[in-house]
Amino acid sequence: MGKRAERTDWGLFLRKDWSRNKLLYAMMLPALAYYLVFQYGPMYGAVIAFKDYSPAEGILGSPWAGLSHFKDFFEGFYFERVFTNTVLISVYTLLFEFPAPIVLALLINEVRSRAFRGFVQSVTYMPYFVSLIVICGIVKDFTNSGGIIQQVVASLGGADTALLQNPDYFRPVYVASEIWQRIGWESIIYIAALSSIDTEQYEAARIDGAGRWRQMRSVTLPGLLPTIMIMFILRMGNLLNVGFEKIILLYNSSIYETADVISSYVYRKGLIEFDWSFSAAVGLFNSVINLALLVLANYLSRRVNQNSLW
């Protein structure tokens, strides 16, 4: 064998792999077809961003348009608005919603009674399982003029107006509803990380005279940091990726100026107004930026403290 094996015969190797694994490759076929058609198909279809797509002529037949759609977007009136809104909603969510489950996990971690822990966790996960339609229906109902939140505001001397008709209130309502919906669910991962911290570290801290607060700062938080970093990288990668589903359920034309984000704009342009190529261009711009941000965040995190996704 010796010499021949070193001079690995590529074709022979592949053929052996094939004959050993052909049943596996056959089992892989449905998923391969799915990924090629429904994931890579749209990636190919994204070339319409560089064309003037018309359904009659198809993707191949439509004439090239170069970068004109991108140019239209960058120079158009809506670019600044949707870009700013996307960044602001992301940043507010990052500032207020991201820490919320961490705080919840730390609080739950301090509870000794198992039953009470379980109870708090069960109830706070619940909003995550309810459909977005119902969540947004409740949010609209509660923030409407005469709704519960407005009655509280009015009783404190505020004006009773429909919050979602006023551009100033869209972002607070959005971020608050995100916290409400996700705090319990997202705390799971931190609670799991907390339970894996070595209890001896707490013992040692206690022997050194550390109180509860001190233990949290010098044992619990450092133990949680890797998990926080990973979640943070994922968030950074999604900085320009505000999902449109909740936005389009909550917004209306009177609050577009604060509520319309890139993805909801893509949706409206492409699938309501049928401006296919323009919408595809905006969407592609968004996808590329997202990918770049994720790679960057991952790189920085690896440099700073060896936490990375890949």
Binding site: T124, M126, V130, I133, C136, R212, E245, V266, G270
Partner: protein, 291 residues
């Protein structure tokens, strides 16, 4: 261990904060439940928090159950959930099995191809055009086939399959079992917990899905429950359900009707919830390790 007064005070503060959070998490659902039984008149006149139902009426529920759109919506949703579960579970588990095998030359390429789609996609319009090109528009299959695999679920399952001890398969392979037999007779039966988790993930996702239905379906006869709900909750139109009732009557019922519809559409998921909750948590853990 001795507990100081400070410790006890801290415990009390923490318990109070958590209880407040529990109330905030649960109250909206309680409100919806109470309002659905309430008398429309009194509900409109009432202001402030609702702590009990006003009257006890089942009129709203009667209207909901007499409504054919709701029943059709239910049927469509159940069809989509059932069809999806069949396809999703079959394809996801088979693929997860292949990807969990060692010494398969092309697996690295497959995994790259698959994971890449988590970070980059072609966008909404091109996706719509693909689905349209295949001719799925205005069929329930449009809500099933283009979502055959969820990459995140696939990775969770692959991690679980890879942790089944190899020795168990070896004896079967020596007895002449092929890969499909190993998959079907050994890996699947040994992985029931993860299969339960993923089934539930898919089921909840499908039960709650609405966006692609609004995109791919024009025919009202095909609308799943969530789209009917959207008409009632988001567009605030109960007209279609109240057809025939006098205006006064309509206003009164429609107020509690909204809430009754929410209950009818949400109760199936919330009934499952206590049983499945712990599995969901397990799923998150597995996913967190190798996400």
């Amino acid at each position: 261990m001795r507990r100081t007064i400070g410790d006890r005070l801290g415990d009390a503060v923490i318990a109070a904060i958590l209880l407040a959070l529990v109330i905030v998490s649960a109250y909206p659902f309680l409100y919806v439940l109470l309002a659905s039984f309430s008398d429309g008149n009194q509900l409109l006149a009432h202001s402030g928090l609702l702590l009990r139902s006003y009257g006890f009426h089942l009129d709203a529920y009667e209207t909901v159950f007499r409504n054919s759109a709701i029943w059709k919506g239910y049927l469509n949703t159940i069809t989509v959930v059932a069809g999806s579960l069949l396809l999703n579970m079959l394809v996801t588990s088979m693929t997860a099995y292949v990807l969990s095998r060692r010494r398969v030359y092309w697996n690295k390429a497959f995994i790259f191809l698959i994971v890449f789609t988590m970070f980059f996609n072609g966008g909404l319009v091109p996706f719509y055009l693909v689905v349209k090109g295949i001719g799925l528009i205005d069929s329930l299959a449009a809500l099933i086939v283009p979502f055959a695999v969820n990459t995140f679920n696939l990775i969770i399952m692959r991690t679980a399959f890879a942790s089944v001890p190899e020795s168990l398969e070896e004896s079967a392979t020596i007895d002449g079992a092929n890969h499909f037999t190993v998959f079907w007779r050994i890996i699947l039966p040994l992985s029931l917990p993860v299969l339960a988790v993923i089934t539930l993930y898919y089921a909840v996702e499908k039960w709650n899905a609405w966006f692609y239905a609004s995109l791919f379906l024009r025919d009202r006869e095909l609308f799943p429950l969530q789209l009917i709900l959207r008409e009632i909750l988001i567009s605030n139109s109960t007209d279609s359900m109240l057809g025939g009732a006098s205006v006064d009557q309509a206003v009164l019922v429609s107020e509690s009707l909204k809430y009754a519809t929410i209950i009818v559409a949400t109760v199936p998921i919330l009934c499952l919830y206590p049983f499945v909750q712990k599995y969901f948590v397990k799923g998150v853990m597995v996913g967190a390790l190798k996400g």
